[in-house]
Amino acid sequence: MEKENIIIELTNISKQYDDNLVVDDFNLKIRKGEFVTFLGPSGCGKTTTLRMIAGFELPTSGKILLNGQDITELPPYKRPINTVFQRYALFPHLDVYDNVAFGLKLKKIKDTVTKKGVTKEIERKLTAKEIDAKVMQALKIVDLEELETRDISTLSGGQQQRVAIARAIVNEPEILLLDEPLGALDLKMRKDMQLELKEMHRKLGITFIYVTHDQEEALTMSDTIVVMKDGCIQQVGSPTDIYNEPNNAFVADFIGESNIYNGTMTDEKKVLFLNHIFECVDDFEKNEKVDVVIRPEDIFLMDEDKGMVNGKLVSKIFKGVYYEYIMMVGKNEVVIHDTKEYELNKTMSIYIKPFDIHIMHKEFVNNVYEGYIDKNNNVIFAEGEFECDVTQLIPNTHLDEDGYLVDDKGIVYDLTDADVKVEVGLKDIEIVDKEEDGTVSGEIVSIIYKGDHYQVIIRTEEYEDFVTDTEYTWNEFDKVGVKIPKEAIKMTLKNEAKQYVKD
């Protein structure tokens, strides 16, 4: 990337409100004329980052460079940057024309005048004629020439949107910031505006920084997408890169539909998930726990036993061009997009090409399981019944004598059969010699020396893995028992607590 092409550079930007770190060490360079989209779920810090570029918020630390100049502390009215606000923020006391002309009337330009033979450089305001020409041109770009004298309140949402865009671009900013500008429009209008904005960007050649939580919008419009989560950049890349080569499970899940599974590398370019060892093209360390991502359109349905894994089709939805099937493979759901129609409840088999299996390093180094609460308030996962503290599932609760959860408002919850996500830290799994002493038993399939400890993987008969860090050495293929202390089992409800209110 050439240096002179960079228009704005954010280095180590962080923003903290009280104890809340909203943006965490944000680093990004944006080229002149680029269409960049900040994409992420609400609360990921994308709007805060935009507001720091606009100058409405000061970063707690870090620097913003515009054309190499530090503008971190520059107030918004001194920045050659304009914003299209989420809810337009048009001035209701001005009509369309005056809204668009607002910035121009304040602007001072450098000009030279020749008076009595002496040429002087002066700063002057724009003349009414110059303003008029610019306003009319901006209104023409957004297709609103006829409405210049209209009151803002008489305009439709789409028209107000256009006025907001005209008001920003008329100032010829170096960067145009757009904060979810299409969020309030209906679907059809949004699609049209997406294309129009893209076209406008091409014509004007201004750098656009666009904020949205709509992945489709981001894919349609952007040159570069910055995926954010919890104030951190997850991935920066072109739409095709981000779609085809997501960095991690979060990006894969956020961009497009995905099947995401916990997998384990069993050998060179071999990965275990859905109780089957698949060939893949990514090379990871043996026995590493990984996330496996497969796009629904990359899974092919075949007759029973013809493919790699069998499963039963439990759901079929017609989506226009294709059918969306859900197949149960063991306890796992597989979402499949296929253009052919198959019978519901039919047992079929799936085939996935090796290069369509995307493997990513796991973000969390915890053991993660799917489980459910049984009637004894224990949790069942990985074929075992573990003692656990169910009061952690719903805040401010205690157990009554009948074994139901009661919260401080007296609401009673019955968690029997509630689905939970179980997390167990690597250090919290205890290995015992005798199989029958453990809650579950399995075979040690891997021992890796990690400098000061061993990482041991115990695999059950049903292919559930327990990864644990231990100081002691064990032998491969040993049959051992696994114990987990009650307080080490961290659980979260998969559904909302109110579903379990006992009536």
């Binding site: 009215y77 940057i81 304040l106």
Partner: protein, 265 residues
């Protein structure tokens, strides 16, 4: 058994009767007394007497000046206060706003008398400085009526608009003049109308604060009715009414833009 059914029209009868009895009839009476002489004959003698009397015209002019001065002072003092109150950063849970409004709940005559004594204690004697004392009394009494409508308009104001103004290159003072003031104009207008007219027609404040050395048009109305000069008193009241009417018409355009709560509560 037949049910008694009320139509909407029947339901409105009590309100209608109330309106006629307490609004329309008194107004008509004022008009009647204003255009009749003391014998009950229709004549314009009251008008002639009023507009030929330099003292009375001077009184009217003076009252307008006091009204305008009080309105401006209240706006100058009240506007920044309302701005601070509407800012969540300084006014958590609106307690501060309540503190500014609370004086309105205390008896008006008592409050004014207390103000006079307080000023006396500070060395501002109503007898020696009647104008100053009256002005202070007026501002103190009408400030809550200014703050209230301004505060409610500012609360409703879209803060994004201020950011939009900065974003488009307006410096803080330009943003204040070009965005904040126009946005709060409905509040300013309703504050002004709520201060201007009552100031002109009040007589308690000038009586108590100025120790009867200051006379406003309100004092004149009271004096005339006290002396059973109903015709003269009614005429002045009618003139005041016309002034209100004209002002309301003039401010209607601004008010139309946004329905602002009056602020009397």
């Amino acid at each position: 058994m037949s049910k008694i059914r009320f139509s909407r029209k029947t339901l409105s009868i009590p309100y209608f009767a109330f309106l006629i009895l307490f609004v329309v009839l008194p107004l008509l009476l004022i008009v009647y007394y204003a255009i009749t002489d003391s014998d009950g004959n229709i004549s314009l003698v009251n008008f002639i007497r009023f507009f030929q009397d330099k003292n009375k015209l001077g009184l009217l002019a003076f009252s307008v000046i006091i009204g305008v001065a009080n309105t401006i002072l209240c706006l100058i003092i009240g506007y920044p206060i309302a701005m601070i109150l509407s800012n969540k950063k300084y006014n958590k849970s609106a307690v501060l706003a309540l503190l500014f409004i609370m004086p309105m709940w205390i008896n008006f005559v008592l409050r004014t008398a207390a103000t006079r004594d307080l000023l006396y204690w500070f060395g501002i004697n109503g007898g020696e400085h009647p104008y100053l004392a009256t002005m202070i009394g007026m501002v103190y009494n009408y400030l809550p009526f200014t703050i209230m409508p301004l505060y409610t308009t500012m609360l409703k104001m879209d803060k994004n608009l201020i950011e939009a103004s900065y974003d488009l290159g307006a410096k803080p003072h330009q943003t204040f003049v070009k965005t904040i003031i126009p946005m709060t104009m409905p509040g300013i207008v309703s504050a002004a109308t709520m201060v201007f007219m009552p100031t002109m027609s009040s007589f308690v404040i000038s009586d108590i604060m100025g120790e009867r050395k200051i006379s406003l048009i309100g004092n004149a109305i009271q004096f005339n009715f006290d002396q059973s000069r109903w015709n003269d008193g009614s005429l002045i009241a009618l003139i005041m009414l016309l002034i209100i009417g004209v002002i309301t018409l003039l401010t209607k355009n601004v008010q139309k833009e946004e329905n602002v709560r009056g602020g009397l509560w």
